[in-house]
Amino acid sequence: MKMTYVALKSLFSSPATANYPAEPKTYYPGTRGHIVLEVSTCTLCKICEIRCPTGAIQVDREGKAWSIERMKCIQCGFCVDSCPRKCLSNDPQYTSPASEKITDRLDVPYEPPKRKPKPETPPA
């Protein structure tokens, strides 16, 4: 008998269903969606590569590139916490499903500071 009340109530209340594919979902600002790199401040320090629990992040110092395998990343945000330059961040939008495993490769324009050449000792 009690259930009749609940069922009747849901007849007259607004629908609980989010009309998802028709209306895009708005995420909360803190949602851990996918990892975004701010290329201009990255120094290719490799800390994110070492810290990543699944080995999704690869840092290529010679090729000056930072790459992430989207289908390996578990969105834990450990790289975001450990980045010393705070150039990694979590974007609330999720990676969309695909038929292939996606790898995003970003070119990093970082120039390592050149070591000062040793001052030549003046000939005695």
Partner: protein, 163 residues
């Protein structure tokens, strides 16, 4: 909705996961996401299903079960790997009991990333899977026609149309 031309039925199996993705698959059936409005039904029987949703990676013991479920499904069929574990093994890829993602056992058509995969991503993944199903179905239809031509009996031959 035009993208859902037919009512796809799906069967769900948990390979070896933390069951976070499983409850998200179940959450898709419940009022907030309600995939039943597109005609998607979660069936328990692989022989009724068009779409196989697999969560979690494959280990030694679940491999024959997954293979059996796949073989029991009628052609054409689509396999959707849900969650990072199903696509690559994820955080458990270094465990001693892991065989790898689902693609180590059966062919996978769509990968749905996320740990755990959100209901929205799962719905997106199923939509992508249905596009694959549609192309597979067209190919399968052509093949069936070819097969039928071989076995057609002579008295069923259509009359030649007059010039």
């Amino acid at each position: 909705m035009s993208m859902f031309k037919r009512s796809p039925w799906m069967v769900h199996y948990d390979g070896a996961s933390c069951n976070g993705c499983d409850i998200e698959v179940l959450a898709c059936l419940t009022p907030r996401y309600d995939v039943e409005r597109f005609g998607v039904i979660n069936t328990g029987n692989p022989k009724h299903a068009d779409v196989l949703l697999i969560t979690g990676y494959i280990n030694e013991q679940s491999q024959p079960v997954v293979r059996q479920i796949y073989q029991q499904m009628p052609d054409p069929k689509v396999v959707i790997a849900i969650g990072i574990c199903a696509t690559s093994g994820g955080i458990f890829s270094e465990c001693y009991n892991t065989k790898g993602g689902v693609d180590s056992t059966i062919p996978v058509d769509v990968y749905v990333p996320g740990c755990a995969a959100r209901p929205e991503s799962i719905i997106d993944g199923v939509v992508k899977g249905l596009a694959v199903l549609e192309t597979k179905r067209a190919a399968w239809r052509i093949e069936r026609k070819k097969r039928n031509r071989v076995f057609r009996l002579p008295f069923f031959k259509p009359k030649a149309s007059p010039p």
